[in-house]
């Protein structure tokens, strides 16, 4: 009798442990950062592409918060990316060249846009919501096109100059500063997102993804949670956009495009949504494949990318990380 009680007590302790330990850092989580640093030294000629990848990882990471964790499928995330890019760009053109405050301003504008649109959009669900995110993003893109006195319209926003970061690090031709700047911002954002997904708030987002009906029934203020998550994701997307504007010193309407909204969803799902590291896997995979295919097959490269995506959609619904997990599990079992 005592052994049964003891066994169940230790099972309970381990169940409680499992939940209370989930947020602890594991060694493998250092891997993306080690790789990013190694790439800096190994491929000094590719730092422009590297910077783009880091920025897109940040963009996809912000999307993971609402798509992967909150279960909101959106095709309009570029609205926030673009809002951030134009905010940072316009500030710089008008003489506000300090980069860090530019980033913060971009994040704030995007977050505000997230709250305002989220309060309206997030009352809907499913396909309606999907279409509305698309419509809002297209409206903002058209707005930016028409407001060419501010945005430069179809010609793009030119004449951006950015002061050295902290007054010390000047943006150089080899993109060394850009790369480290993007890496540092991504790292801070990752710390924040990681804390959020392991917080009670983050777990309740997962609850909304798993069953919104049940969340209502346990008394959760679902709309408030969703709008908060939407605004945080918007802020991070805005910061990603601002990074692009500052490092490229140019903003075109492409930052608000449907193609950008769609690609970020694809990249996140390719890596694995709702797992925090999907962005870190999916984005480099997609962008490097795109880069290589475009070089090898200048005309037919998108076909190759399409085949890759079909393979993932058919064979690995949970993305590359899911396949990785399955392979690890299989190895462990066969070693026993």
């Amino acid at each position: 009798m005592t052994t049964v009680a003891e066994a169940s007590r230790s099972a309970g302790a381990s169940a409680i442990e499992a939940l209370s330990r989930r947020h602890r850092l594991r060694l493998s989580e250092a891997l993306p950062w080690v790789i990013a640093l190694a790439c800096f030294f190994a491929f000094p000629g590719y730092l422009a592409l590297g910077t783009h990848i880091l920025i897109s990882i940040l963009f996809a990471l912000s999307l993971d918060l609402i798509l992967g964790y909150g279960g909101i499928v959106t095709l309009g995330q570029a609205a926030f990316f673009g809002a951030g890019a134009y905010t940072a760009g316009i500030l710089a053109v008008h003489g506000w060249t300090e980069p860090l405050t530019g980033l913060l301003a971009a994040g704030a504008v995007a977050a505000l846009l997230g709250v305002v649109t989220g309060l309206i959009l997030l009352r809907t669900e499913g396909l309606t919501l999907l279409m509305l995110t698309l419509v809002v993003a297209e409206m903002i893109r058209e707005g930016a096109n028409k407001a060419d006195r501010w945005t430069g319209g179809a010609d793009g926003l030119q004449g951006i100059s950015i002061a050295p970061i902290l007054g010390l690090f000047r943006f150089d031709l080899y993109r060394r500063t850009s790369y480290f700047y993007a890496l540092a911002v991504l790292f801070l954002a990752w710390l924040a997102v990681r804390a959020i997904v392991h917080s009670p708030f983050g777990r309740s987002l997962t609850g909304i993804r798993e069953s919104i009906t049940r969340m209502h029934a346990i008394g959760s203020p679902v709309l408030r949670r969703l709008v908060t998550a939407y605004a945080i994701a918007a802020a991070l997307s805005g910061i990603a956009g601002a990074l692009l504007a500052q490092t490229e010193q140019f903003v075109s309407l492409e930052v608000l495009s449907f193609a950008r909204s769609g690609a970020v969803v694809i990249m996140l799902i390719l890596g694995g949504a709702g797992r925090l590291y999907g962005a870190f896997v999916g984005v480099p995979l997609y962008m490097l494949a795109q880069d290589q295919l475009a070089e090898q097959f200048p005309i037919y490269w998108s076909t190759g990318l399409g085949l890759l995506l079909i393979a993932v959609a058919l064979g690995a619904r949970g993305g590359v990380l899911d396949v990785w997990d399955a392979a690890l599990g299989w190895l462990r079992r066969s070693h026993r």
């Binding site: 169940s8 989930r22 708030f201 777990r203 069953s211």
Partner: protein, 251 residues
């Protein structure tokens, strides 16, 4: 008479020309064991949805512990002690049993919106969730994902999640639905073991279960209350036999 735990006055709901609830006056006493029965399509689940706020009534009012909550959204009614289970399991299928209950407890304690504290640390929420599972005898499944559990087990998790809210009023929407006969005994025992101070309303098709648990029964037919009384009165009532018990004698 003391204040009712839950009360409705003239509750109506129509979708266009279709009336699914008409003039429902209902009273659930504190600590009651009350059953709501009626043939398919009588409006039982509609009634639950009106009471919880999942649907808003076309007319009529809902009171919780003497307070008019008709205008309150679902979440605010839950905060005032109204919890429900679902006829079809509505759980966080991809999360562990423990976390399903922990999410409910976190909401009740008002800590579920915190942004920068690891969910598992220092809150006591997880420990309380585990203790709740122990009381229902499903602690051994704490770490398992809900979707891996047999359906009958999931029915118990439904009840555990609702109890995590420390309700004063508990609405059980067909708690034994979809549970094989051999396992429904556990459900009955669980319901019988609920704390006496919780007012329980059971919506159920299984007459054995109803007559075993309920001390008062309301019969709903075509969206309105046909009759209300003690189990004996209901079993004897010719109208009830006509609409509902016709082909089946109560145990």
């Amino acid at each position: 008479m003391s204040e009712a735990a839950l009360e409705t006055h003239g509750l109506c709901k129509s979708f266009g020309a279709l009336t699914v609830a008409s003039d429902i006056d209902f009273r659930l006493e504190a600590g009651a064991r009350h059953a709501l029965i009626g043939p398919n399509g009588a409006g039982k689940t509609t009634f639950v949805n009106l009471v919880t706020g999942a649907l808003s009534p076309s007319r009529g009012r809902v009171w919780l512990a003497g307070e008019d909550v008709t205008a309150l959204p679902q979440a605010r009614r839950v905060k005032r002690g109204l919890a429900r289970t679902f006829q079809i399991n509505t759980l966080f299928r991809g999360l562990s049993v423990l976390e399903n209950v922990a999410l409910a407890i976190g909401e009740r304690r008002g800590v579920a919106g915190e942004l920068f504290r690891p969910a598992g640390r220092r809150s006591g929420v997880v420990e309380e969730a585990y203790a709740a599972l122990e009381r229902l005898g499903i602690a051994e499944d704490a770490s398992r994902l809900v979707r891996e559990l047999p359906y009958g087990r999931q029915r118990l998790v439904e009840i555990a999640v609702a109890l995590g809210l420390e309700p004063k009023v508990l609405l059980l929407d067909e708690p034994a639905a979809g549970v094989p006969g051999t396992e429904s005994g556990i459900i009955v025992e669980t319901i019988e073991g609920l704390p006496a101070e919780i007012a329980v309303l059971i919506i159920e098709h299984d007459m054995d279960l109803v007559f075993r648990i309920a001390r008062r029964i309301t019969v709903l037919a075509q969206g309105s209350v046909l009759v209300e009384g003690s189990p004996e009165e209901i079993a004897r009532d010719p109208r009830v036999r006509e609409v509902y018990l016709g082909e089946r004698e109560p145990a």
